[in-house]
């Protein structure tokens, strides 16, 4: 019993430690990540008054302040072009951590038209230190190679490698102009760490929603977000692992208590009070749990070096000195959940009553708490638990219903097997549940991943080759003409205007200043707390589809208010529907709009698409840049020539980007596969212990059958009938649900095509390995 509990507890504890350790890495390295104690960042040039507010607030605490600008620009060398992430630093940044280089040339040592580059730049352009790269029409000399940098999280995907350059050089070549995409950051070194309350108060005072404040201790949010996506999905695996072990534990524990009934009767005959009997068994349960957790902790500690070495493959932060951190909060809630189950069974045994649904309230509430702790979502937690409860109840009644018709089959051994399944309901449901969850997880994970992976692969032919942005207004016509002259196929050129969300239905928009909000609120905060990219177009492109309302129909009843169309996920995040009014501020002018349609967008088409689209005619005079895509580019040299002509353009090679996305996906896939493997091991171990246990308790029946003249082969046939039949039903139901849910997740939520791997389906054979436990010895022959 303890072994089963241990197996089941170890996995979620281990995986949760894994996740916690990642967070701790970033929390510890937070200062090293942002290079200071506080970072103020914005996707547009922040208003001076906003910066003054911050400086005024921090006043006496400021030790030093630096300005960092970051922008994308095309580089050119050795006949190759590629996008670069240019960074300029004014001030003594970084205050924590270092930018280390091969020859030791520091950030502040470079002169104008000298650059420090990441090693990827050398590969990208086929250059070495000392060579020159053309950026924005000027030549920059590579003076040194960056070996270690601040401001990096997990090494997951880098679209444009970093290049440090002086601010003056950038200014001189005119790369920063109105409408250019420049990211501004101000990093502060403070006398002491900014506390949570001060941080919250500061956020409330900064009225500019373009500005984002990050303090060191929450820097993990920025960089571990992508990894958090992995962990979000892995919540399912955590939860399933817990459910499996709890199912097996519950069955074994219940059997143990059943056998204790005669002892309980003896205690009562001896005059022991009920409360004393309760104490005996609750203490027993408590000590079992304690022993289990000590063992889990011990084993986690033992495997910690292996786990840390695995993590270090994905991290550029030095984590070699770390050990796995044990999530005591999680352990406490898990203990509570398991203890409520123990209480339920002890109560039922001592009072000699069947377990009713009302007894399950305690375990269910603690399960909701456990799921909430993991997912931090007020909708996911109860929904998931509710769904699982419905599933459990459904199976409890459905499985016997499915099997009962088969009782009509009179073949003796088959009939005996079916009777055993139907009449030993608790064993059957426990085993079924474990198998079902195992099969479900090992099917749904590959389904979702295959679909995402294939979506990136598929449509390669129809996908454009290059994405072009930062097209200035005065380049619009010449670029159009150039592309026509060169016969380069391009999509219609889309305007992009920066704006800010001001109000929704006349209510001013303010994001919640608190850091720790739940998942849904965090998504909403993110949606509200940033400037927005707006476009205008009266026609939909091939990647868009109106799912609600009408797209810029002149006949819609808008009372003369400007129409706007929103992307569906964005609309959901900010809580807006068709008919709602939104006010945007664009270059200090407020535009009141009414949402007349909501669109779904296939983002993997890589066509220019926007969350917010106005109808043509309203924003045409606003300062803007343009975007377009290029297709069927005959040769790479066309891109080189294009950049030669239009030096301020930024061009992304979509193939390379999807390659990066594929790389990211591969890493994410590896992490998930590791988790699924651990999950599979745990679930198989749980299933094995349950199988061995149920074989053991059926030995009395086996013995009788032996006396009745049943041979070993016949007995084996009987027991294998039971086992294989259960495996088959659970495989079928789990596969069906995995396909159904997978389809919903992929097609409805992600909006991509459903796909699955036939090879992954072979994983469903693994639990059938359980047949090896049916042998002469185990069957008592």
């Amino acid at each position: 019993m303890i072994l089963n509990l241990f197996i089941g507890v170890l996995m979620p504890v281990g995986l949760f430690s894994y996740k916690n350790t990642i967070n701790e890495i970033f929390q510890r390295g937070g200062q090293g990540i942002i290079g200071g104690d506080l970072k103020v960042s914005s996707r547009v040039r922040p208003k001076e008054e906003s910066l003054l507010v911050i400086d005024e607030y921090l006043k006496d605490e400021i030790v030093s302040k630096s300005e960092i600008k970051s922008m994308f620009s095309m580089g050119q060398a050795s006949g190759k072009v590629g996008m670069l992430n240019l960074m300029t630093v004014t001030g003594n940044y970084p205050y924590y951590g270092k930018v280390e280089t091969q020859k030791g040339i520091g950030l502040h040592d470079i002169k104008d038209f000298e650059i420090l580059v990441k090693p990827e730049v050398l590969l990208k352009f086929g250059v070495v230190a000392g060579d020159k790269i053309e950026i924005g029409g000027a030549l920059f000399t590579i003076v040194d190679i960056i070996t270690k940098d601040v401001n990096e999280g997990m090494q997951l995907a880098q679209m444009a490698p970093k290049v440090y350059v002086t601010q003056k050089a950038i200014k001189d070549i005119g790369l920063i102009s109105q409408g250019s995409t420049v990211f501004y950051s101000y990093v502060y070194r403070l006398k002491k760490e900014l506390g949570h309350d001060s941080y919250k108060s500061l956020k409330e005072q900064v009225l500019d929603s373009n500005i984002r404040l990050t303090r060191a201790s929450s820097a993990n949010d920025m960089f571990s977000r992508s990894l958090n996506i992995v962990f979000d999905f892995s919540q399912i695996i955590f939860l399933c692992g817990i459910l499996i072990s709890v199912s097996a534990f519950s069955y074994i524990y219940r059997y143990f208590l059943k056998k204790e009934s005669s002892n309980i009767l003896s205690y009562r005959i001896l005059g022991l009070e009920k409360k004393s009997i309760y104490l005996i068994y609750l203490l027993h349960g408590f000590l079992s749990l304690l022993l289990t957790f000590i063992m889990s902790y011990f084993v986690s500690y033992l495997v910690s070096p292996l786990a840390i070495s695995l993590l270090s493959k994905y991290s550029t932060v030095d984590i070699s000195g770390l050990t796995l951190s044990i999530p005591f909060g999680f352990l406490s809630i898990l203990s509570l959940f398991l203890f409520t189950i123990i209480i339920t069974f002890v109560h039922s045994t001592i009072e000699d009553k069947q377990i009713r649904l009302v007894y399950l309230v305690g375990p269910l509430i603690s399960l909701v708490l456990l799921v909430y702790y993991q997912t931090n979502s007020i909708t996911i937690a109860p929904s998931l638990v509710g769904f699982l409860l419905i599933l459990l109840l459904a199976f409890y009644y459905l499985i016997p219903l499915l099997i009962s018709p088969l009782l009509k089959i009179k073949q003796t051994f088959f009939n005996l097997a079916m009777l055993s399944l139907v009449r030993n309901k608790t064993t059957t449901i426990s085993k079924f549940y474990i198998l079902f969850i195992t099969f479900f997880v090992i099917n749904i994970v590959p389904i979702v991943f295959m679909s995402i992976s294939k979506d990136i692969e598929v449509g390669k032919g129809s996908r454009p080759d290059y994405f072009v942005f930062d097209i200035q207004e005065d380049q619009f016509e010449p670029l159009n003409q150039y592309l026509i002259d060169k016969e380069i196929q391009h999509s219609s050129v889309s305007p992009m205007i920066r704006g800010r969300l001001v109000s929704i239905n006349d209510e001013e928009v303010r994001a919640d200043a608190s850091e720790k909000s739940n998942f849904e609120e965090e998504q909403r905060n993110r949606a509200l707390n940033r400037g927005v990219n707006i476009s205008y177009d009266n026609t939909l492109n091939s990647a868009e589809r109106v799912i609600k309302g009408k797209y810029f129909s002149k006949s819609s009843n808008t009372d003369g208010i400007n129409e706007v169309s929103l992307e569906t996920r964005y609309a959901k995040r900010i809580g807006v529907e068709v008919g709602d009014k939104i006010t945007f501020e664009i270059f200090d002018i407020n535009f009141e709009t009414i949402v007349t349609s909501i669109r779904s967008v296939k983002w993997t088409s890589f066509l220019p698409n926007f969350f917010i689209v106005f109808e043509d005619g309203i924003l045409n005079d606003a300062p803007k840049t343009y975007l377009t895509t290029l297709s069927n580019v005959s040769s790479y040299s066309e891109i080189v020539k294009l950049v030669d002509h239009f030096k301020s353009l930024s061009i992304v090679d979509i193939k390379e980007m999807t390659g990066q996305a594929q790389k990211f996906l591969t890493i994410v896939e590896k992490i998930l596969i590791n988790m699924v493997i651990v999950f599979l091991i745990i679930s198989i171990l749980s299933f094995i212990t349950l199988t061995i246990f149920s074989i053991k308790i059926s030995q009395a029946d086996n013995q009788l059958l032996k006396y009745l003249g049943v041979s070993y082969e016949e007995l084996l046939k009987l027991r294998l009938f039971e086992f294989l039949f259960l495996c088959l039903i659970s495989t079928f139901l789990a596969l069906s649900l995995a396909f159904l849910l997978g389809y919903i997740i992929v097609e409805v939520f992600l909006g991509i095509s459903f796909s699955f791997s036939s090879i992954a389906l072979t994983l469903n054979l693994i639990p059938f390995v359980g047949v090896v436990f049916y042998n002469k010895k185990s069957l008592g022959y």
Partner: protein, 220 residues
Amino acid sequence: MLKISNINKGFYNDIYTPILQGASLNVEAHQKVAILGKSGSGKSTLLSLISGISTPESGDIEIDQIVISKLSENERAKFRARNISIIFQDYKLIDHLNAFENVALPLRLNGVLHYEKLAIEMLSKVGLSGRVHSFPDTLSGGERQRVAIARALALNTKIILADEPNANLDIETGHEVMGLLFDLVKEFNRTLILVTHDKELASKCDVTYALVKGVLEQSN
């Protein structure tokens, strides 16, 4: 009917412990034979040898001229299914089968076609026609033993082995059950080998043997 010739059987723990040492026995058809012995004298071992569950280290066990001690495990199982029924002191009913299903079990295992009718008849014979669909955990000790008796008698086996069938019953119920057993054995003309430490019960059998120091000695 049953002939046991000079069988030896022992068990190994750290050392070899002999249980039966040159035990011999002759049982005629339709006889009721009692085997008396103290706890640990080897009565259950003897029953397991007669039933073919285990084999002696030396000596033979012959039933109707078939030397079962020389048969293979599967052959012994088949023989046992068709020819031997056993009644245990702890009843050994299958918990998830009701009374009818427990009685019908040996009939079904042997491919008897009208097993439903036979099983219900047997339950009626043991006075449980009203408990046909009851599960063992709802039956009293006496009722469970009646089901076990019905099961043992349902199939027309040559020999019925009874291993202290009244041991777990109170005196009154034990007498009732044993009375029923003897009546039915007589009615169905079966051979009964009864293992017991109850001398009074043994006296109701045709022949009594005592198992002493691994040897069977006829005492009446």
